[in-house]
């Protein structure tokens, strides 16, 4: 389906819409009243069909808006449906989560931060704000009065099982419940998991986030357009090239700026170097989880030269701060090019050895194949992205579908696997590392001459959607400007936000020993510190992290013995 056919398709629901706008190529904005949003969303998701990206709640002057962002990956088109809620006193809209599980979290989040009620939502518990956040204070409303002193001072020593208040707990305690976290190895968002188990088998999984909620979207509204990249690069330390890239894509779309070619290449090189060290990091941690600490140590040793290269280019090992609206802050000096190429050759050799060691190992085949399978249907329903989607046969990649930076000029392949298990995701990441090395080399060869930035004076009123392919999947930023020097709304969706809820599809039915590696397989930016505990229903620690890790490793060992 090309752009024209997509437009024709959208005409089918014209009677439910109040407006269709297309300010730039590949960006379509539909408007409707809140009452029609359910029907239009169902049409967009099921009949067109589009991939759900995220929803954004906006506090406009006289109404609330809920923006549903969709992507049509075949042509890289973003379709945004704006639903207007006119009733400011009791804002409410029909929930789309019943047919679109990927929207469950974001509707809960919008309810938390804007107080919009989602009717018929299956599970309207608090998601993003802390347990002790006062009811009725909605931080993203423009007139929100934040509690001056946070009332979090209670000093009781609560056992971890009560981290969610009993009223919010869905799982009945008649079956054993294993809480995992909040201090645990999947530490990017410090999630808290509650696994219901039947013997060794996981029967349900529930998640609580908020531990890492820093209120970045609100802080961003208080920063100038040029300061925001420094903030968004600190959303996630290991996606610190992708978030600013997605943000500047959005702002450059509003302002109609095209950065110089050299800047596009520099952006690409930094983003791909980041992908290389991020994927190597994942391989190491995955090895750690199943008891291959040698792989862990090797992998982390091999990513060090990449960090050194990034430090030479940008001045910092992480949080590069190199992307700005209109270009880049620092250029890659030409005399550094041979050194980068030489280091990449070295890394490639080592990665070939490591990849062979990992992919040819019969024990790893036995241990990881068929574990934590995310089927293609579930991958679409949960709208997962990145290697998690590509491992499940959903071949989407923003770099190819909606090229930004210099990806359109480079010769590379999207790596896909069909199985959807942990092994498939490992294969995707390992092979992508080689594609990234190839891309950096090609970009260095082709690096055009010229400046790395254009001067940007003003950001006009408007709105823009920017996305970029982070190592974990699509990073999406929506920015709205009113012509001032700060964004009036800045929505961020990190890839883990859609990848993590897919645990419900991939973990249920698994053995407890497989849970750590299944959770790890989507790479929710975890680090390998030992902070995971399994507690029985009385709040006693039944398995701590070491015990779980031991379970996982014993299984590997058992398979090894059986194969000998």
């Amino acid at each position: 389906m090309n752009q024209e056919e997509l437009n024709n398709k959208l005409e089918e629901i014209r009677d439910k819409l109040t407006a269709i706008e297309q300010p730039v190529d590949n960006r379509i904005y539909l408007s409707c009243e809140a009452g029609n949003s359910y029907a239009v969303n169902k049409f967009l998701f099921e009949d067109v069909p589009l991939r759900f990206v995220i929803a954004t709640g906006v506090d406009s002057d006289d109404c609330f808006e809920v923006l549903y962002h969709y992507a049509y990956d075949q042509i890289g088109c973003m379709v945004t449906l704006k639903a207007f809620i006119r009733d400011r006193e009791n804002p409410a809209i029909e929930s789309i989560a019943p047919f679109l599980p990927a929207a469950e979290w974001i509707e809960r989040e919008i309810h938390d931060v804007l107080g919009i009620d989602f009717r018929n939502h299956p599970d309207m518990r608090r998601l993003i704000l802390s347990d002790d956040w006062p009811e009725g204070v909605y931080p993203l409303r423009k007139d929100a009065k934040m509690p001056a002193e946070r009332p979090d001072g209670e000093s009781s020593s609560r056992p971890m099982v009560q981290s969610q208040s009993p009223a919010r707990r869905t799982v009945k305690l008649s079956k054993p419940v294993l809480p995992v976290g909040p201090f645990h190895p999947l530490q990017e968002e410090m999630e808290f998991f509650q696994l219901s188990v039947d013997g060794e088998i996981v029967t349900d999984i529930d998640m609580r986030i908020s531990y890492n909620h820093r209120g970045i979207e609100k802080i961003s509204e208080s920063l100038q357009f040029d300061q925001v990249p420094f903030l968004v690069s600190r959303i996630c330390g290991i996606c610190s090239a992708s978030h600013p890239l997605a943000y500047v894509n959005a702002v450059e779309e509003i302002a109609g700026i095209t950065p110089p070619d050299r800047a596009q290449y520099v952006r690409t090189i930094i983003a791909e170097l980041e992908r290389i060290h991020s994927h190597i990091l994942w391989v190491g941690l995955a090895g750690h989880f199943i008891g291959y600490d040698t792989v862990f140590m090797w992998a982390w040793k091999y990513r060090e030269p990449v960090l050194d290269l990034l430090e030479e280019i940008t001045g910092n090992r992480n949080n590069y701060g190199n992307v700005k609206v209109g270009g880049c802050r620092e250029d890659i000096p030409d005399e550094l090019k041979p050194k980068i190429a030489k280091e990449l050759d070295e890394i490639e050799k080592k990665m070939e050895m490591l990849t062979k060691a990992v992919l040819d190992d019969p024990i790893l085949h036995a241990r990881l194949k068929g574990v934590g399978v995310l089927s293609k249907e579930d991958a679409i329903r949960y709208a997962v992205t990145g290697p998690t989607a590509r491992g499940s046969g959903v071949a989407i990649d923003v770099r190819r579908d909606d090229p930004y930076a210099a990806y359109g000029d480079l010769d590379w392949n999207v790596i896909g696997q069909l199985e959807g298990d942990v092994f498939a995701k490992a294969v995707v990441r390992l092979l992508e590392t080689f594609e990234s090395i190839k891309m950096v080399k090609e970009a260095l060869d082709k690096l055009p001459k010229g400046p790395v930035a254009v001067e940007v004076k003003e950001i006009p009123p408007g709105e823009g959607c920017g996305h970029a392919e982070a190592p974990r999947g699509e990073t999406f930023h929506y920015v709205r400007s009113d012509g001032g020097n700060r964004p009036v709304r800045h929505k961020v969706r990190a890839p883990s936000y859609v990848n993590v809820p897919s645990f419900r599809a991939s973990c249920i039915g698994q053995h407890i020993a497989d849970v750590t590696i299944t959770l790890a397989a989507v790479d929710p930016c975890y680090s390998c510190t030992e902070r995971l505990a399994v507690v029985d229903s009385h709040g006693n620690v039944a398995h701590d992290y070491d015990a779980l890790l031991k379970l996982s490793r014993e299984k590997t060992e058992r398979i090894r013995k059986e194969m000998l």
Binding site: L129, S130, D131, D132, W133, P139, A144, M146, R150, D152, G153, E154, S155, S157, R158, S163, P182, F183, Q187, E188, M190, S210, Y211, N212, H213, R214, G215, I216, K218, I219, S222, F230, L231, R234, I235, C236, G237, I238, S240, L281, G284, F296, M297, W300, K301, E304, R317, N318, N319, C525, S527, C528, T529, E530, R531, D544, Y545, D546
Partner: protein, 139 residues
Amino acid sequence: MWSLKKSPWVFHVNTGACNNCDIEIVNCLTPKFDVERFGIKLVGSPRHADALLVTGVVTAQAAPRLREVYRQTSKPCVVFATGACACDKGIFATGYHVVGPVDKIIREIDPTAIIVYVPGCPPKPEAIISGVVQALSVL
């Protein structure tokens, strides 16, 4: 105090960090820097820890958990506020869900706590190691 100076065992607490400090901490343990040579070891329980490596701004949801973790450590326990966020909330200082920094939360329950500050965004592994060495030499 002398017991802290040889091979301190550390427990790592993320209280709302961007993961960078945490990855740099793990970098300290892996072959390039390898502080395990000196007996510095990450442990799985705060009850085994001589020191807490705390990263992040301390969000509203994490604050009670940080207090609880500190309470569970055996005293004396050195708290390393690692990174700009842990030292003074860094770029997230104005966030509505941020109640830190780390020293404020820890001092609420133990005014005499030993707190070491390792600034940087993120601090390089060399900086973290240097912070640990300096702290141990003055204890």
